[in-house]
């Protein structure tokens, strides 16, 4: 019996590792910025170039930062969802227009809707680098103290919104 138990056991162990591994997404790089202060920024608003938006302006409110670009196809997948979500008024969503041209970004918002309270203009992607952005779209949840509490990589889905983001927003709002 032992002769069969040992290889069987080893096989089951390997099968377990395979099952666990298949559930992981190797392209997802967890952010080291969770529970760390959101990096400082100061940049112009997409729609109003003369207006400056700074990270310090956000202190005191719970907000979402959604990184998008007009050239990003996947961003369109989540956009309708974000527009809907912004209308419910749970938390303000600020956009980060990443490596884009002003006219292209504004045109995109005109065509597909604008869920953002305001949009930061980041033409050379420096703010993106500070936030560890490596592929749009990405979405951050930041609390009143300016600490990043959650990062979602890829388009926001209804499930992520319902199960992760919205409960977190409510929790942070009541804190």
């Amino acid at each position: 019996m032992n002769r069969f138990l040992l290889p069987l056991g080893a096989f089951l162990l390997l099968a377990l590792f395979l099952a666990l591994g298949l559930r992981l997404n190797p392209r997802e790089v967890p952010s080291p910025l969770i529970d760390k202060p959101a990096p400082s920024f100061q940049t112009s608003s997409l729609a109003r170039p003369e207006a400056l938006i700074r990270r310090e302006d956000m202190l005191g409110k719970v907000w979402m930062l959604n990184v998008w670009a007009s050239w990003c196809a996947a961003c369109r997948d989540e956009h309708a969802l974000l527009v809907d979500f912004s209308r419910r008024g749970v938390a303000p969503i600020y956009g980060l227009n990443y490596k884009d041209k002003r006219e292209d970004g504004l045109g995109w918002l005109n065509r597909f809707g604008n869920p953002y309270t305001d949009t930061l203009f980041d033409p050379d992607g420096r703010i993106g680098i500070d936030y560890g952005v490596y592929g749009v779209p990405e979405t951050f949840v930041i609390d009143r103290a300016g600490v990043i509490r959650y990062k979602h990589i890829g388009p926001v889905t209804p499930e992520v919104l319902r199960d992760k983001i919205e409960p977190l927003l409510r929790k942070l709002a009541n804190a």
């Binding site: 392209r27 790089v29 967890p30 560890g132 490596y134």
Partner: protein
């Protein structure tokens, strides 16, 4: 005629050997503003992983993010930041995964030690199996004798 044949064979062999010295087309070297910074940047970039094309380093990758980060590294070097500082800058924002060589930490212990351990385990099992076989009677290796009989 054997002499001509041999000459031709020799010529053919020589020609074939020349193909070993293959033409290697590589990218035209970037004419950078500061070649020294460029060289240092490439050394650092070879230590960092491109997060878009995750099997490549930032030095090799053509992805937009890789170009941005190479530019970032150039600027940091020009500002006088040390290599340690630049690598820390990257891991602060992207985590340990951005280092092309995984650091040796408790969390990566299994990654580093695992293959060696598995090898030892396999060799140990092989040793035991071989030892056990040494002790079996010669009849156990006779294909005509059933195994249970020979093991006694």
């Amino acid at each position: 005629m054997p002499k001509l044949e041999r000459l031709l064979h020799g010529l053919l062999a020589a020609l074939l050997c020349l193909t070993l010295v293959s033409a290697q087309a590589s990218e035209a070297p970037v004419v950078a503003a500061n070649p020294e910074i460029e060289a240092r940047m490439m050394v650092l970039a070879a230590e960092l992983r491109c997060l878009v094309c995750q099997n490549q380093t930032i030095a090799d990758s053509h992805a937009g993010l890789a170009e941005d980060l190479r530019q970032q590294i150039r600027e940091m070097l020009a500002k006088g930041m040390s290599e340690r500082q630049i690598l820390d800058y990257m891991t602060e924002r992207y985590g340990d995964f951005v280092l092309y060589r995984p650091p040796f930490k408790p969390s990566t212990l299994l990654l580093w030690v695992g293959p060696g351990l598995l090898l030892l385990l396999a060799l140990g099992t092989l040793w035991r199996v071989l030892q056990r076989r040494q002790r079996l009677a010669p009849e156990a290796f006779d294909p005509d004798t059933p195994d249970e009989d020979a093991a006694r």
